[in-house]
Amino acid sequence: QKEVEQDPGPLSVPEGAIVSLNCTYSNSAFQYFMWYRQYSRKGPELLMYTYSSGNKEDGRFTAQVDKSSKYISLFIRDSQPSDSATYLCAMSSFILTGGGNKLTFGTGTQLKVEL
């Protein structure tokens, strides 16, 4: 079983819809929870990151973390065709030597927002 599970989709929604993307994880050592957006043949782009359980909002995006259930979500309001991309959840674990943070990614959910 993978440490991070994410439904690969594809997910197709009409413009203006609310999109819900989700990941579950099994490693309690994960500290920070991120969402990345990746357009075709581009590198992942950091959208949001959160630390504690609860909600964090940034414009049309809301990230939600429930550490007790080991479940994170990303909500996109008023979705636009430009939101069509692959969304990757990622979770950081601390690298004891050197102070870095290793990211473990979900497989990504492919989203298409249609006109």
């Binding site: 920070y32 590198g43 050197g98 870095g100 990614f105």
Partner: protein
């Protein structure tokens, strides 16, 4: 400011040849990471640099893979005697290093490696 840059953007090589992939991190970022993204495995951690040191090499899949970083900036990932299973997109990310901003990793566009 300038983001993370990687070169080449695409590389096609024959099985058994060596390849070098380059990463230029964001200026001032002391932490640098290499990841690999392949169809079957998703995005996987390879190696972490803090300055010129590599405290965590746990993700390197075999001893054919090595990486170095010089001057606390540019990093090179080298794959020797390439195999077809090495075909993937190799991504570099950088962050501000220990302390504030350490969790925000910014990725480059990647190098798409195809081994024929």
């Amino acid at each position: 400011g300038a983001g993370v840059s990687q070169s080449p953007s695409n590389k096609v090589t024959e099985k058994g040849k060596d390849v070098e992939l380059r990463c230029d991190p964001i200026s001032g970022h002391t932490a640098l990471y290499w990841y690999r993204q392949s169809l079957g495995q998703g995005l996987e951690f390879l190696i972490y640099f803090q300055g010129n040191s590599a405290p965590d090499k746990s993700g390197l899949p075999s001893d054919r893979f090595s990486a170095e970083r010089t001057g606390g900036s540019v990093s090179t990932l080298t794959i020797q005697r390439t195999q077809q299973e090495d075909s993937a997109v190799y991504l570099c990310a950088s962050s501000a290093g220990p302390g504030q901003g350490a969790y925000e990793q910014y990725f480059g566009p990647g190098t798409r490696l195809t081994v024929t």
